[in-house]
């Protein structure tokens, strides 16, 4: 645990997710929490983002914990991968797209259109970015992929 950019509060915030994770037979150890925060930090540095609270990380963990096909072994790895994609999208989409919309896009796409395949999901993220750059919004795009979804923003 040598990364000085990571503080214990952030690790504790991730570990606190265990309260709802345990109900789904999932758990994040302190070491895994450290790894998750480390991925987030590394992305923030790469994409020059300044994170001022942990809400998005916790929301992402919570959202993916609902995916019943993810078992304990792959859950943390998937969360780490989704965090990478979350920050990639966060850096490409502007402040008119909120965090929840990005997380819901990742969740829906991961389950429904990328068939839980990371590489396919990366392609779909690129497609989303192209759509956003042309249209200035992602809502319509996501709706067409998942008509049942209603976004809150």
């Amino acid at each position: 645990m040598g990364n000085e950019l990571i503080n214990s509060n952030q690790i504790a915030a991730v570990v606190s997710c265990n309260q709802f994770l345990r109900k789904k037979q999932l758990e994040i150890s302190e070491q895994q929490a450290y790894e998750i925060v480390e991925v987030a930090k590394s992305c923030q540095i790469d994409y020059q983002l300044f994170q001022f609270d942990d809400k998005s990380t916790i929301k992402l963990i919570k959202t993916f914990s609902e995916n019943q096909s993810l078992r304990q072994q792959e859950f943390v790895d998937t969360v780490k991968q989704m965090l990478e994609l979350f920050y990639y999208l966060r850096s490409e989409l502007d402040f008119t797209v909120d965090d929840n919309s990005i997380i819901e896009f990742l969740d829906i796409s991961y389950r429904k259109t990328a068939y839980e395949n990371y590489d396919l999901l990366v392609d779909q993220c690129d497609e989303l970015i192209r759509y956003f750059n042309q249209n200035g919004s992602i809502n319509e795009y996501v709706k067409t992929r998942n008509p049942q979804t209603v976004f809150t923003d």
Binding site: L5, N7, N9, Q44, Y47, Q48, L49, F50, Q51, F52, D53, D54, K55, S56, Y87, R90, S91, D94, F95, D98, D99, N100, D153
Partner: protein, 387 residues
Amino acid sequence: MNMLKQETPKQFLPINFSEYKDDGQLVELVIRQFKEMTADEISSISKELFNRLASGILYSCSLAEDYNELTLQKAYQKGQKVIEKKLKNIREIQKRILTTLFQTENIYYRSTVSDGIDAFLKHYNRRYFAAEMIINCDYPLFNPDIRQVSIGYIEQYLLNLEIENRFCQYFDNKQVDQLLENSLVDYKKLPINIFEPLLIVFIYNLILNKPPFNLIFELDDLNRLKSLVSESLIISIIADLSNQSFLDEQIIQYIIQGQNKVAALISQQLIGDNLEKLYLKRRKKTKIIKLNLFNNMDYQQYDQLLKLIYNCQDDNEVIRAIKQVNSLSDFIEILNDCDLSDQQLKLLVESLSLDECKIIMAYFKKYDYYLQPLADYLSTKLKMNLF
């Protein structure tokens, strides 16, 4: 917020931040604004947006008179009030200028003060992005204030434009358009300053003891001017403006501010021997061809004119005779039938106005019928008068 203070990467702070105090206050304010802007639904901010928000806050603070003695939040709020006043002031100046706008055919003059400023007022986001400029003022000022940015620049721009507009009002607008066309054929579509050539002519008038807002000159005036003008004379004339009653104090101060520029421009003109372009020569009272397509001569008139041309004693007489034609098609036909010498064609082209040259060239193009070498002389004249 203590955690935020420790974690803010230094490179996120704007370059001019060192002038300000506590980076914690700025980060706190940026985050607060960001949360407000995004309804607290985004928990990370990009460096670019952080910088834009921070610059807006710092710019707003810098407008508060005593910002050094205030907390950043208080200075920001005070600055916002100053911005509100500036916005109100900009609307008032814009209205004043538009009601007395100098009438010129240059498209940028009106569009900048009307559409450009409207766009600024519509899109300027004083709360979050107060430092941003949003529009470019296409119409260039004689004295632009490059020290100012954003709303401060726009306000000063309009104040200066109001002074320039007031000065231009002293001149006959039709003559001004002619003068501008003399110096730049495409002046209507180019972002050029109108105040500058008028100021130069104004100074020349004072040197020549002519009425200050006169735009009509004789060739003798130009020759006299060449022998009289010097940089020191220009500076002394400008310095003496306060003792004259032609202009108000604001215009005088504005001219003084740009006196070195005027002196340099005048020197350039004298070196480049470009004086003629800045003058409207008195129109000669000789008949000018009125070219149109519908006033053709009948056969008899045409025949008489041809005979007259053949019997002319010298080239000038020939040109005067040709200029009796009232229609463009007659004009082309006469030239076709007369077989003028090169010298006569040159004289004819010299005697035509630029508009007339353009009309004839347009006729050639339309019918793809080029009367050579007349077409060559015309296009040479038009090219030479481009600049």
